[in-house]
Assembly symmetry: C2
């Protein structure tokens, strides 16, 4: 058992530490980066470290090398990158995050890139292509055979979020008029079957999908049975133009490992595998989490300060604009604040709670829309429900706050205005939390995009306006 592989992040971190140690104990990293791998610049001790390091890297899975590259600061990262065998460069580039990939590719010359890309399949090349220099892509295109070039072109023709961009071409196809015995013999002629092969694709002479033969069925059925008798004729299939998130939902729902991708004419054009779907789901949830925190894209943790500033400035700018609007709303009521300065201390509470409450509502609705359970037709029902929730929360928390404010300021009228403002702002938040995503859904927009920023902007400015407005009307 000891040779079995208990893999875990801790273990991976140990490996990163070992690599760092090898790079640093005799200054190998510096020597490599300075000499860019040229001979003569590396002393014997460093050479020994280099050999050991290379040996360790060769033993690791490409995904682990990718992880190590991501975990290393820039100089060490490039030193390790030089030591990776060129025939693994392509695979590793596919595994690293976008931010790190950019840095690694920038460190390679065109010949190195082409050598690395040559080891990849058409669908993998398509994933890499957007990050490669234009002339390299052209050169690669020329080097491919006709079938590969056609596949690359087809894969590149799809949008990033379409099923076609995720599919691969590693399909084992069979005919329906042969016996399972013949299929088994046919399979035995392969050196190796494509990863994730859990079903064979049954096609006719024109490449049209007739059904699928799950390997599970192949293994338990009589060898004399015909494929046509055993195959499943109603598998879940996907259109290459379908949105990847639909495919991801179907993979989750029906517990799929692979599924055929079929064009409008019924011709099998590729295959979707669960590992691509998993990557897609992870990436989507990353993007969502980053965007909701105001980051444009994934940031290499060791990225330069300038790169980070560029990544973050867009959302800060938006935030500044919304904050300025809120500030101008307050500016309208400077007279009121001058007369009753307690207003200044209380107004951020009204705005803050409204924002929190609005974010709760809009998050529920956006998620419901994403899973398809919320439709435009549900608008009224949802509005009634959210208004009810806002009413209860507004009355309860408003009352709490009114009591606290009374203890602090001893002003009953101020407390009543505060409570009314809380309630109204929470109702505004509920209304906008339902209306904004449903309006976006009706007009075909993305209900999630910037929803949190928008609702917070509304509840901030709205909260200040309602509270200070009511105060002006009733207190002064």
């Amino acid at each position: 058992m000891s040779e079995l592989n208990r893999k875990s992040p801790e273990r991976l971190q140990d490996r990163v530490d070992q690599v760092v140690q090898l790079l640093e104990r005799h200054g190998l990293a510096d020597a490599l980066v300075r000499g860019h791998g040229g001979p003569g610049l590396i002393n014997p001790l460093q050479q020994q470290d280099q050999i050991e390091l290379q040996h360790r890297l060769d033993e690791l899975h490409s995904a682990d090398v990718a992880y190590i590259l991501e975990s290393l600061p820039l100089a060490e990262r490039l030193a390790v990158w030089q030591l990776v065998k060129y025939d693994r460069d392509g695979e590793i580039l596919l595994e690293v995050s976008d931010a790190v990939r950019e840095i690694l590719i920038a460190d390679m010359d065109n010949q190195e890139i082409i050598a690395a890309a040559n080891m990849l399949d058409a669908d993998e090349l398509a994933d890499l292509a957007p990050d490669l220099p234009r002339d390299v892509v052209r050169e690669l295109m020329d080097m491919l055979d006709a079938q590969q070039r056609e596949r690359l072109r087809s894969a590149l023709s799809y949008d990033e979020d379409e099923v076609g961009a995720l599919m691969d071409f590693d399909m084992v196809t069979i005919r329906d008029d042969v016996t399972l015995e013949v299929v088994s013999r046919y399979l035995r002629r392969f050196d190796i079957l494509p990863d994730h092969t859990d079903k064979l694709f049954v096609v006719d002479n024109d490449g049209r999908l007739q059904g699928v033969l799950p390997i599970k069925k192949l293994l338990v059925s009589s060898p004399d049975a015909l494929v046509a008798e055993v195959m499943v004729t109603d598998p879940v299939i996907f259109d290459p133009q379908a949105h990847a998130s639909e495919a991801a939902q179907a993979f989750e729902r029906y517990d799929l490992v692979t599924a055929p991708v079929v064009d409008a004419g019924g011709v099998l054009c590729g295959r979707l595998t669960v590992d691509e779907v998993l990557d897609y789901i992870r990436q989507e949830s990353e993007t969502e989490a980053l965007n909701s925190a105001g980051l444009r894209e994934e940031e290499d943790i060791f990225a330069s300060v300038w790169k980070s500033v560029r990544n973050r400035w867009a959302w800060l700018a938006i935030n500044l604009c919304t904050a300025l609007i809120a500030s101008r709303v307050i500016g309208l009521f400077e007279g009121a604040i001058e007369q009753l300065v307690a207003l200044a201390a209380l107004m951020p509470i009204v705005a803050g709670i409204g924002g929190n409450s609005g974010n709760q509502t809009i998050t529920m609705i956006v998620r419901g829309i994403a899973t398809g359970q919320v439709q435009v037709a549900h608008g009224q029902r949802l509005l009634r429900k959210e208004a009810g929730v806002a009413m209860i929360n507004g009355l309860f928390w408003g009352l709490m706050l009114a009591i606290i404010a009374y203890i602090l300021y001893g002003n009953v009228a101020l407390s009543v205005v505060l409570m009314a403002a809380m309630l109204l702002n929470m109702l505004l938040a509920a209304l906008m939390g339902v209306v904004i995503p449903l309006a976006r859904l009706r007009t075909g927009g993305d209900p999630a995009l910037g929803s949190s920023v928008l609702i917070t902007a509304i509840t901030d400015s709205g909260g200040f306006f309602i509270f200070l407005g009511l105060a002006t009307l009733f207190l002064l």
Copy 2:
């Protein structure tokens, strides 16, 4: 091709609409809920609808029935639930969301629950058990055979977030001293192989894992070869006590479909499948998104107002506390605001931008920790970088804001104070954004938990304090 199944959310929505139509056109839903399925209360037209509806439901995948149940308002949901064949109840309960499952189980009597649970495997029962009445679980335990009971007990002994809670027991095990021919014959004796069987598990007489035989290899290798010659001896394996998120990362990294779960003694105790991992990943990212919006758990979109209020109140309470603290900070400076009311209008900008910037930093760090790429040892380096980013952003946006403030108020000193406060609050945000998650990591806490609330609380109160404090010192 027409009988092939193009599944997509739109299609599913059509089915939901058809179900709703059948339930409503002759009042079937009302009749069912009123009569609770009893005879005599349903008129002939309704009976016809019921038969058609039942037929449609029988044809659907359990996951699709679950989706329909989730998409229906309460009365319609319970009506449909009555029409689902009892032998599918268990499967469907496994598929619906927690919130909906609670409602469905509350609608069943103990005998119905036991009948449904009887159709499930031990690992599935374990998933359901926490939602079932205590006495039902006891009764179920008594009905299981010794092996199933042992498995259920073992599955229940693990924490929700441990690999043991996700594993199932559907393993095909073989010995290493037989030929592939024998293995193939053995497999043919199964009526059906477990879902996701991409590898067979090779164990010795004591049940200790020796290796795995990928089906891919079984299919292409010579039938005369021994299992021992062909099997993979270093598969990725998991400890049942390992954290599920580690397993999820390994599944993504190594593109796994299934993996053996092995205890400390080397004994194979279960199997992890990609569909469970996928569900886990989706659930984690859901929880994260909900929490960051201040929702405790997933909410049934048609839940009652009261249920929603309960789900949301905790975070609103926390939010109110932090808002009150910020309000008291402002209260300290009421004198300053009275003298220079522009401070009241400008202070939310300082706090808001600081919060946005702090959230950006903490999100980066928390994500880096989650993937294992950020260690406590990186603290200094990260602090320098984030301070650099904050410095640049603070100077730039501070200057922009200072200019705008000068245009509005024509007060140079006020503009300078505003700029200084922006810069200092952004530095505070950067410092806390790095220190909070790393301190939590060092003390073994969850770096993500409430991180956004905490940083926002600090940048709000801190922003008000810095801005109003500087103003008091230099402007009055």
